[in-house]
């Protein structure tokens, strides 16, 4: 086991040992030169860590919101323990229908805009891109920190939305007008202040979008301009390719979201009528209700891939490393990113098959949606190709990586089911969709994110996380996640976003929903194992050697690319990052930074386990 071995602490020597004079003695060869606690730093790594911590906090908040949703779906209108008396004091501890609407709106908004997008791009992107390409920093250090602080400003706007009498935005993360613009109940006007809450929500979304835009600019420039000597585009690891393509998608998609949210904001606050039809009461203009849906999904569909491509990239690297095999079909992996990104911009109509959009054009969205399943499928097959015949080391990050693949298959397949319009007519806006999105977003993206934390933890903190707790965390999360989301496929009769569905024809679904809630609680509890492991390992984790997983990636070279070490020789890259188990070599890996001529020293146990 890796963790056991590293206690002897025999750093794998690189051919170019960094000069040791500038190093603080106690920090191995990975100096945290800039104070890691300074949130105003412009250092990519420090800000990356701040992203990581912030997003994990937001993940906790989003998770609690999810538990409240599940509570209501299992035991409608009953007092919620602990949180209930605090959150819902006005209603005597029970969730009101109004607040239920807020709950699922905020759950999705937090998870999408404050957890998955920022942790994958701002968090892992900032942390990994520079060391993976051998750059000393990101291209625009000021943007690095501005982007991060915009996230907290955005979160502030969400909190303001929560502090309004309406207790938060309540029109879903999709914010369809006219509901979002009118706010609450139409007949009685906006008694509960929903419009104000929605306006603050839009400000929050706007700020996260600007933040993501800055991150994307920063990453694209860095990847294109600041690669080390020898780091050609086709020697970039899958992670970096995914980050590049993701950033380009963000650059193209975010302006539309920014535009649309400004339009909705002015509809609410300045009385414009972009999305309000002439026929509506109080209408001053002849707006288009469906225009919002087109704009939103033009952003929204690329957004779902923005939330998974980086995780796909990181999982590709993890799988190759622990299968001790070259990433299968590296080139098709790269091209499938590009295919997904391009097709991703012409499939948005699959969210609108029953929206009243022209029925003939639905057919072209159907075809493009089926086409996008192809590159997604190619990726799955390549991952399996990577595992096949490997010498698998089932460490925690590897288990999470395999979990990612296995969950993505299920989520991708339910996507294909819904891409058939006559079938989607039945499934749309029911819990089947909820099952789909959670298989891809939780089953895949979140598992991938955890895998990346376990894998790059030594790079971030110089220590390894506990494998024992890690595996327990994986095991329980995996079981409960499937217990929660697999049965949701059987709820294709039950509409989404119902505060209390259990009347008449839907009464029979109560027991299944209670089961789901039990599993969801188990899933939430499992994350406490992760929290404990994370905090414990920060302080007491086994000290890691410079390349604990014997990975080929440049980020493990042990050469510190921090600003304080300007006098390091520039890094040079000699090959792609997947030279595992080459028949020409004794050792089963050949890092990107090792020269051909260097006879690698024989490690005591070059092959792990």
């Amino acid at each position: 086991m890796i963790a056991g071995r590293t206690t002897h602490h025999t750093p794998h020597t690189t051919h170019r040992k960094p000069k040791t004079e500038n190093r603080k003695p106690h920090t191995d060869n990975r100096t945290l030169t800039p104070s890691p606690l300074n949130p105003f730093s412009t250092h990519h790594r420090v800000i990356g860590l701040w992203y990581l911590f912030s997003c994990l906090i937001w993940l906790g908040i989003g998770g609690l919101l999810a538990l409240a949703i599940r509570w209501q779906l299992a035991w409608p209108w009953s007092n919620m323990p602990i949180l209930g008396s605090w959150l819902f004091a006005d209603s005597g501890g029970t969730i009101t229908p109004e607040f239920y609407t807020v709950l699922f709106t905020m759950h999705a908004s937090v998870m999408i805009f404050f957890v998955l997008i920022p942790i994958l791009t701002g968090g892992f992107g900032n942390l990994l891109i520079p060391p993976m390409i051998g750059a000393k920093s990101l291209a625009f250090p000021q943007l690095t920190r501005i982007a991060f602080w915009l996230m907290w400003l955005a979160f502030g706007a969400m909190v303001l939305s929560f502090l309004t009498p309406a207790r938060g935005a309540a029109s879903g993360w999709t914010a369809y007008p006219p509901l979002s613009v009118f706010g609450g109940n139409f007949g009685t006007g906006d008694a509960s202040g929903n419009r104000v809450a929605q306006a603050w929500w839009l400000v929050g979304i706007l700020l996260t979008s600007v933040s993501s835009l800055l991150v994307a600019i920063n990453h694209v420039t860095t990847i294109l301009q600041m690669r080390a000597l020898g780091m050609t585009m086709f020697r970039l690891p899958a992670t970096v390719w995914a980050m590049l393509v993701t950033s380009i998608m963000q650059l193209l998609a975010l302006p539309i979201l920014i535009l649309a949210s400004v339009m909705q904001w002015t509809d609410i606050s300045l009385g414009t009528g972009f999305f309000i039809p002439a026929e509506a009461a109080h209408s001053v203009a002849g707006g288009q209700v469906l225009l919002w849906q087109h704009l939103f999904w033009f952003y929204g569909h690329p957004a779902v891939y923005i939330m998974i491509l980086p995780a796909m990239g990181m999982v590709s690297d993890i799988l190759a490393c622990f299968a001790r095999k070259p990433l299968f079909g590296y080139h098709s992996m790269v091209w499938s990113n590009i295919a997904i990104a391009s097709l991703g911009f012409i499939v948005w109509g699959h969210h609108m098959f029953v929206s009243g959009m022209n029925f003939t054009i639905a057919m072209s969205f159907m075809i493009s949606t089926m086409l996008i399943a192809l590159p997604s499928g190619v990726k799955v097959f390549n991952w399996i190709g990577t595992l096949w015949g490997g010498r698998l080391q089932l460490t925690t990050p590897m288990l999470l990586g395999v979990g990612f693949v296995s969950m993505f298959i299920i989520g991708g397949l339910s996507g294909v089911v819904m891409s058939v319009p006559p079938v989607d007519v039945v499934l749309h806006d029911t819990h089947y969709v909820v099952a789909h999105i959670h298989y891809v977003l939780f089953g895949s993206s979140v598992l991938g994110m955890f895998g990346a934390i376990y894998f790059w933890f030594p790079l971030m903190f110089g220590r390894l996380m506990s494998e024992r707790l890690g595996k327990l965390h994986f095991l329980t999360t995996f079981i409960f996640l499937n217990g929660t989301f697999l049965p949701m496929h059987l709820l294709s009769r039950m509409p989404r976003r119902y505060a209390d569905p259990y009347a008449d024809s839907l009464a029979e679904f109560l027991p299944l929903n209670q089961w789901i809630t039990w599993c969801a609680m188990g899933m939430a509890a499992s994350q406490l194992i992760f929290l404990a492991n994370f905090l414990w390992s920060l302080r007491f984790g086994i000290l890691s050697q410079s390349n604990p997983w014997q990975s080929n990636g440049l980020e493990w070279s042990g050469v510190d690319s921090n600003a304080a070490n300007d006098d390091n020789e520039p890094l040079e890259v000699f090959r792609w990052p997947y030279e595992y188990s080459s028949p020409d070599r004794e050792s089963d890996f050949f890092p990107q930074w090792e020269k051909e001529s260097d006879q690698p020293e024989r490690n005591e146990s070059p092959n792990g386990d």
Partner: protein, 266 residues
């Protein structure tokens, strides 16, 4: 440990595979995966597509999962031994195959399902009056509002939106085995008209007028569910629906018309 993890990774696809097989083979209780039995012909063809595409999924799930689980399983002995991982970078033939075969299947599916789509969504039913073939006129104007359903029946003049419309709230009664056309409009925000038994769903967008149609077998106790978030009372926005014999329908509508004031339709 590899065995343990292999089994873990096998369980979920296996469970999913069993469910999918039951769907494809129409085995109770999962013959329709939680949906009620359809009561109209397009509902049945949609269900056929539903089973077909889930069947394809079952196949993909089977092969991918078997290979994943096997990869994990076979490497159990590798841990202690000296066997190295295979050094394979890619395989053009294999990659072409696993792009082309699913591609061909999907393309076939894409074209195959179009007929059902045009039946249910594009070709409004027609009737022959004298020499002419004309579209069946709407029987009911459905007005959705926060949080309820209004049904304005065409009166004696067989036209909706006229003074003799018959107004009923939260109950939709329609004749069986006849082409029924509904016109859907909203009074406030977006709603959605969903009848699971008809496999029919249509969002109702303010400012637009939508048409849906069906030809159903008799059925009692149907429910219309709103499937687009329309506010706090979204979950309450449900109405009862019955499909009755045409004669019953006619006399029912007559009775309702007599006790009904002329409805306000706008």
């Amino acid at each position: 440990m590899n065995r343990f993890w292999s089994i873990l990774f096998a369980i979920v696809p296996l469970a999913a595979f069993v469910v999918l097989s039951m769907v494809c083979l129409k085995l109770v209780p999962l013959s329709t995966m939680g949906l009620p039995q359809p009561i109209n012909a397009p509902g049945q063809s949609i269900d056929f597509l539903f089973r077909l595409v889930h069947g394809l999924c079952a196949g993909v799930l089977f092969f991918t999962s078997i290979t994943i689980v096997w990869s994990l399983w076979q490497s159990r002995s590798a841990a202690g031994g000296t066997r190295r991982a295979a050094y394979i970078k890619s395989n053009l033939l294999l990659e072409l195959a696993w792009t082309a075969i699913p591609g061909a299947l999907l393309l076939w599916l894409a074209f195959y399902q179009m007929e059902v789509w045009s039946d249910t969504r594009l070709n409004q039913p027609t009737q022959i009056i004298g020499q002419e073939t004309v579209a069946v006129p709407p029987l009911v104007l459905v007005k959705a509002r926060q949080y309820g359903w209004e049904f304005h029946y065409a009166g004696a003049d067989q036209q909706i939106k006229t003074a003799d419309d018959v107004y009923i709230e939260n109950l939709l009664v329609v004749p069986a085995n006849r082409d029924v056309v509904l016109e859907l409009e909203s009074r406030d925000v977006i709603h959605s008209f969903f009848v699971p038994e008809l496999r029919l769903k249509q969002d109702i967008v303010p400012g637009m007028s939508h048409r849906v149609w069906f030809n159903a077998n008799p059925a009692d106790q149907l429910e219309i569910l709103c499937t687009e978030l329309c506010g706090e009372g979204h979950y309450r926005m449900r109405a009862r629906m019955r499909v009755v014999a045409p004669a019953t329908f006619d006399s029912w509508l007559d009775a309702e018309a007599r006790k009904n004031q002329p409805a306000e339709f706008q």
